[in-house]
Amino acid sequence: MSYRSQLRIIADILRVARDHCDDDGTVKVSVILRKANLSYSRLSNLLEELIKKGLLQAEERERGQAYRLTKKGMDFLTEYEKFERFARGYGLRL
């Protein structure tokens, strides 16, 4: 498996929150774990950090917590994807 930088892992989590959310706009931990291919302990730390930075928002659901991508998170992801295209144009990965 190829190496993923911390930045790429964060972008992958935010992408899952954007592209694989339920009808109410939130995504469960199990979905993030599966789609972003992360261990539970690593994901817990990252989720905490992303909430602190205001990129994700935690919400209580009947079956545990779910996460919603915030406006700030969406803006960050848009910026990331723009510069990812730029880097890929020069054969680089962020």
Binding site: S2, Y3, S5, L7, E79, Y80, K82, F83, R85, F86, A87, R88, G89, Y90, G91, L92, R93, L94
Partner: protein, 194 residues
Amino acid sequence: MIEAVIGSNLIIGSQGVVSLVIASYAIKGYRRLRSNTLKLFSLAFLFLFLGFAIEVFNNVVMVDIWVTYIMNAFHMLGYVFLGLSHVASVRKEVKEEVAALVFIPTVIMKSLGLYFLLYAAVETTIASMKREHRLALASSIALYLIFLGEFLDLIAIKGVPLALPGVLRFLGFIILLIPLVSVLGTSKKVEVEK
């Protein structure tokens, strides 16, 4: 004679402008995302820009021979950081103490710079093939052209026109603009669609 100097300065100056444009976009990306890869990539083009700026300045004012050492140092640091940006793109940590390279003799430094430039070109080719990315293929062709220009400049083969290294380098820098122009074009389209 004056026309030749002006022409040569225009070619060198345009390479400097291309470097500055790429560096500013990479700096913008680094400031927004704090990406290590973009930091090294922006440093690479910033050093190349400084090298070209000093080259033009020296052509106009004719300062002294030591200025060419500084110019070469900036160019080679640029290529070293370009190689390192590819290292950072596939590995976890990159030590950036390579700035000390500026103090090593010019020929060794230039060879080392060329080694990193070729490494960046090969990595870009591999990346373009793995991910079937046409823009990266254009970048790799550009880097090979710049490498060839720098290499011919270093070894000075008899019979090779004096202007050839400069022309190859110039072509390389112009082709390097293609991915940036393409990204800027796509971003504008996305904004319009929004």
